[in-house]
């Protein structure tokens, strides 16, 4: 359908998608569904060309739709992590050998003689091209999965995602949000204090310097959390509605009973003889736990300010991810050979046409998701210029010393 997105992305994209602002923000859940759909597709194949295509699709959408928010830079970190995973997988294949039989020997490492009881384990020895290729395919698949998760991370605001939590879990959500804003503050503190060491004539680099600022940094963090707790309390955090005793008891019974049901049901599903009762018990448990959460939400008096709505664009984004996943699973079932190219004998993988076309459906968000505008980070020019021409730097220069 929209495979030509990459040819003239700017113009077509602008026409289909509005500029992003708060009210048309895409539900973060939609981004996660889309990314997990791509990830599921990537996990169903070992064809490096197909996975490369999926990674490219995810990368294009990230490049086209990410904002300059701090979390948006996490994509690069996930890509690097993916490369590291491939590297580790290859190293293991070289050192520990590979179960894949192969005839093309690349190099023969000296083999470490192991005692009798460690039979089946090998260190060193023959390294075959087939084994390496198999490990490479495997590593690429894992990396693809990671990069898809990274794409979701870069595109969906974590705090907005937490806002979609049910009311009863709200407090846990706040703890996570506070922790997330805390880490950058902590890093800034460490930097500032290490810089301050220089002012006292001590070296500002090296491990010792880091250790010596540890205590002041922790002290500062503690003070800040106490101040934040005071501020949150003074702003009404933790107000709760009066709930009748019966409702509270019902909440506790439903939540605990539900969780127990989930445990029993899962156990039933996993053991051979429990298959008959497993599923119904699991379902009942889940229902009870959800009812408990819902009832527990009554205690919270909170309301939500402008929650993200799940609109047509969210359906399209989520649907494109699901379509990619569904079509790839279907293709894997019908044409397993194309999606899992063999390594024995060595063959060059070919790009299967229809699964590749399916993967390109994942580009849809690059066309329909609202486009972040240039001002997403730096300041727009203020309406009244005389006193307020502030430095729009992300790190205000005042914070340095």
């Amino acid at each position: 359908m929209t495979h030509h997105g990459s040819s003239a992305p700017g113009r077509i994209g602008r026409r289909l998608a509005p500029e992003a602002h708060r009210s048309n923000a895409l539900h973060p859940g939609a981004w996660w569904v889309w990314a997990l759909g791509l990830g599921a597709a990537a996990s169903r194949t070992t064809n490096p060309l197909l996975i490369g295509l999926l990674i490219g699709v995810a990368g294009y959408v990230v490049a086209a739709r990410r904002t300059s928010a701090p979390w948006a830079t996490s994509y690069g970190a996930f890509v690097k992590l993916g490369l590291v995973v491939i590297g580790i997988r290859l190293v293991f294949a070289v050192v520990l050998g590979s179960p894949v039989p192969g005839t093309h020997t690349v190099v023969t490492l000296p083999e470490v003689p192991l005692p009798d009881w460690a039979r089946g384990v090998r260190i060193g020895g023959r390294v075959t091209a087939e084994g390496l290729l198999f490990a490479l395919y495997d590593g690429i698949r894992l990396a693809g999965l990671l990069i898809c998760v990274g794409a979701a991370n870069a595109l969906a605001s974590p705090s907005r995602l937490l806002k979609s939590l049910p009311g009863a879990l709200y407090e846990a959500g706040v703890a996570v949000v506070v922790a997330m804003t805390f880490a950058p503050n902590l890093i800034a503190d460490v930097r500032r204090l290490r810089a301050a060491r220089r002012l006292r004539g001590r070296p500002d680099r090296g491990m010792r310097g880091l250790l010596q600022v540890g205590l002041p940094v922790l002290e500062g963090a503690l003070e800040r959390s106490v101040a934040l707790a005071a501020a949150m309390d003074a702003r009404g955090f933790g107000r709760s509605a009066a709930v009748p005793r019966r409702v509270r008891v019902a909440t506790a019974v439903l939540t605990l009973g539900g969780l127990m049901g989930v445990c029993v049901g899962t156990y039933g599903l996993l053991t051979a003889e429990g298959a008959s009762y497993g599923l119904p018990v699991l379902a009942c448990g889940l229902l009870a736990a959800l009812a408990g959460l819902r009832l527990g939400g009554r205690r919270a008096v909170r309301t939500r300010y402008r929650p993200d709505r799940w609109g047509v664009r969210a359906w399209l984004v989520a649907g494109s991810g699901l379509a990619v996943a569904g079509l790839t699973v279907w293709a894997a079932a019908s044409d397993a050979a194309a999606l899992n190219p063999g390594v024995v004998p060595l063959v060059a993988p070919a790009l299967p046409l229809w699964p590749a076309a399916a993967a390109l459906i994942g580009l849809l968000p690059g066309l329909v998701a609202p486009v972040p505008t240039g001002e997403q980070a730096p300041a727009p020019p203020r309406a009244k210029p005389p006193v307020q021409l502030r430095n729009p730097s992300p790190t205000s220069p005042e914070e340095t010393s």
């Binding site: 004539g201 002041p216 003074a234 300010y305």
Partner: protein, 564 residues
């Protein structure tokens, strides 16, 4: 609106109550300014209104505080959240979410207001505080004045009837401070909000106050009354009041405008006296012949002043951080014995310039020389002999858990004779015990300790970043005396400050930065007299003559009386 009934607060382990005998009522719709020297319990008194004292801080509260009829003993802070809005000293510690709009909505979400009400109030508040252009901005990218306005906005949205503010303008440049104060006045006038606020920089706020609550000394019962009456007896007062007291005006003027209308006679008396520049401007003190305490030992003592190398020279300096040009084409030379004040709005590049001078930042282009060395390439141990910086937060310099340990470490860092730092501490900060924890010192004392540590290495160039933040007038006067004597001994001093009164007191030269460029550089009197936001109050009152400080006027009057 707020009733204190015989309130006293005692913290655990304290010898006596921090505040005692508070028995008064703050009527609805008034802006009440809490005035007093540091450490008399202003913040404690503010805390009792929001219930954070004693529910959060501990301690014992005797008596009763009621806000809009709710007793703070039985209502926790969160149950007062809909009637009291509190903003503490540091707005950053106040933010829970990460964007402006979410932050404004946070308080209302906690109170469970209906979504359409929240939406309407957020829009109203964005307009009221002029934040509409910033609504989607991450809070971390805002400037100081913007943060303070967001913090005030975030407590305004639940429509509290009382607003409690602790030093809302201390960290702000003059223009941003006026912006915040204009907002407060609008709240009081248009919405009838009761505002209770503590502030050290009285010259900025006293004219807005309907009443003043004076805490003259620790443990004394406070007095509530007319600002002009109480300013006449207050131990802390702004320059306009000082001038009024000196000239014997009654009732005391609180605004520059009132003072100007009354100043006709004073201007006549001063007509044929020129402002003595000695206390403030242009005199470049020659190096004293006697061995100076703090001057660098290894200086070439026999060089004439003209030949002496500048303490710092900056030429064509540019500093970029990411894509932001923090400084552009900056040229600056500081000679020994000279005091330079760097001024300009928050984010103009003052701190960046100081950080570059001390080698914390590398220049992108241009040269920086401090005592002949390029600071960012000099090893820290050598650099501290050339230049010392007292950072905005002096606490960053302090690691040890006692003053004595801090001093020993400073002697070791600077290779100074043992006891050097301690001697400096005793001189700058008399009566501090060796085993005091730096955290227990007041803001002014911590600043003096950090200054002593920096001076231990005898740097010929001394840099101070925003040194008067959180200082009361007495601490400021001590700092001024210390800096003057350092300058007289040949130290070059560069200070970045928003405090126009401080700059008028001690700076020989004022450099104004805007958006990373120097836009004005000249003798203090010449630069500040013509500027509406950087002129000190005395200058504004006695314009067009170039008087800067009350001390100048006092000397001139005394001289005029001595020779009639």
């Amino acid at each position: 609106m707020i009733r204190f009934e015989d309130v006293s607060v005692t913290y655990e382990g304290a010898a006596g109550p921090t505040v005692r005998g508070v028995d008064l009522a703050v009527p609805e719709g008034e802006l009440v300014l809490l005035v007093g020297p540091s450490g008399v319990g202003k913040s404690t008194l503010l805390g009792t209104v929001s219930g954070l004292v004693p529910h959060f801080t501990g301690g014992t509260l005797r008596g009763r505080v009621t806000v809009a009829g709710r007793d703070t003993r039985t209502h926790k802070p969160r149950e007062l959240a809909d009637v009291v809005g509190t903003v503490g000293q540091d707005p950053l510690a106040h933010f829970v979410t990460d964007t402006v709009e979410d932050e404004l909505a946070y308080g209302m979400e906690s109170l469970g207001l209906a979504p359409d009400v929240m939406r309407r109030r957020v829009e109203e508040t964005l307009d009221l505080l002029g934040l509409a252009g910033l609504r989607d901005r991450p809070i971390a990218t805002l400037s100081g004045g913007q943060r303070q306005r967001v913090a005030i906005g975030s407590v305004l949205t639940p429509h509290p009837r009382v607003l409690v503010l602790d030093e809302p303008t201390s960290a702000l440049d003059p223009a941003a401070a006026e912006e915040v104060l204009a907002v407060l006045q609008r709240l009081v006038h248009d919405l009838g909000t009761t505002v209770l606020m503590a502030e050290h920089r009285l010259e900025r706020v006293v004219q807005y106050a309907d009443q003043v609550l004076l805490l003259a000394a620790s443990g004394e019962p406070p007095m509530l009354g007319d600002p002009a009456d109480l300013m006449a007896r207050s131990p802390v007062y702004p320059p306009v009041v000082a001038l009024g007291r000196l000239a014997g005006w009654s009732p005391l003027p609180l605004t520059v405008r009132d003072a100007r209308r009354r100043a006709g006679a004073l201007r006549d008396r001063l007509a044929d006296v020129a402002p003595r520049q000695g206390t403030t401007a242009v005199r470049r003190p020659e190096r004293p012949e006697r061995g100076s305490r703090w001057a660098r030992r290894d200086r070439t003592a026999n060089g004439t002043p003209a030949e002496r190398a500048p303490a710092a020279s900056v030429a064509g300096l540019a500093v970029r951080r990411g894509r932001v040009e923090a400084l552009r084409r900056v040229d600056l030379t500081v000679t020994p014995g000279e005091t330079v004040a760097l001024m300009g709005r928050n984010g103009a590049g003052k701190s960046t310039l100081l950080a570059t001078l001390v080698g914390l930042l590398e220049p992108t282009s241009g040269t920086v020389r401090v005592g002949g060395a390029a600071p960012h390439r000099t090893a820290p141990r050598r650099l501290i002999r050339h230049v010392g910086l007292v950072p905005q937060e002096p606490r960053d310099l302090l690691y040890a858990d006692t003053v004595a340990a801090e001093c020993t470490a400073a002697d070791r860092d600077a290779d100074a004779a043992p006891g050097t730092c301690r001697a400096l501490v005793s001189e700058l900060l008399p009566g501090i015990a060796d085993d005091t924890h730096p955290r227990d010192l007041s803001e002014g004392q911590r600043l003096a300790l950090a200054l002593a540590i920096v001076l231990t290495a005898r740097p010929p160039l001394l840099l101070l970043d925003e040194p008067t933040r959180g200082l009361d007038y007495a601490a400021k006067a001590r700092l001024v005396a210390i800096l003057r004597s350092l300058a007289a001994e040949g130290h070059a001093i560069v200070l970045a400050t928003h405090d126009v009164e401080l700059a008028a007191e001690i700076a020989h030269r004022v450099v104004i930065l805007a958006d990373g460029e120097i836009v004005a550089d000249g003798p203090t009197a010449g630069v500040v007299v013509s500027s509406p936001s950087f002129a000190p109050q005395v200058t504004k009152i006695l314009a067009p003559r170039e008087w800067l400080t009350v001390a100048q006027v006092r000397e001139a009057l005394a001289a005029a009386e001595g020779t009639p």
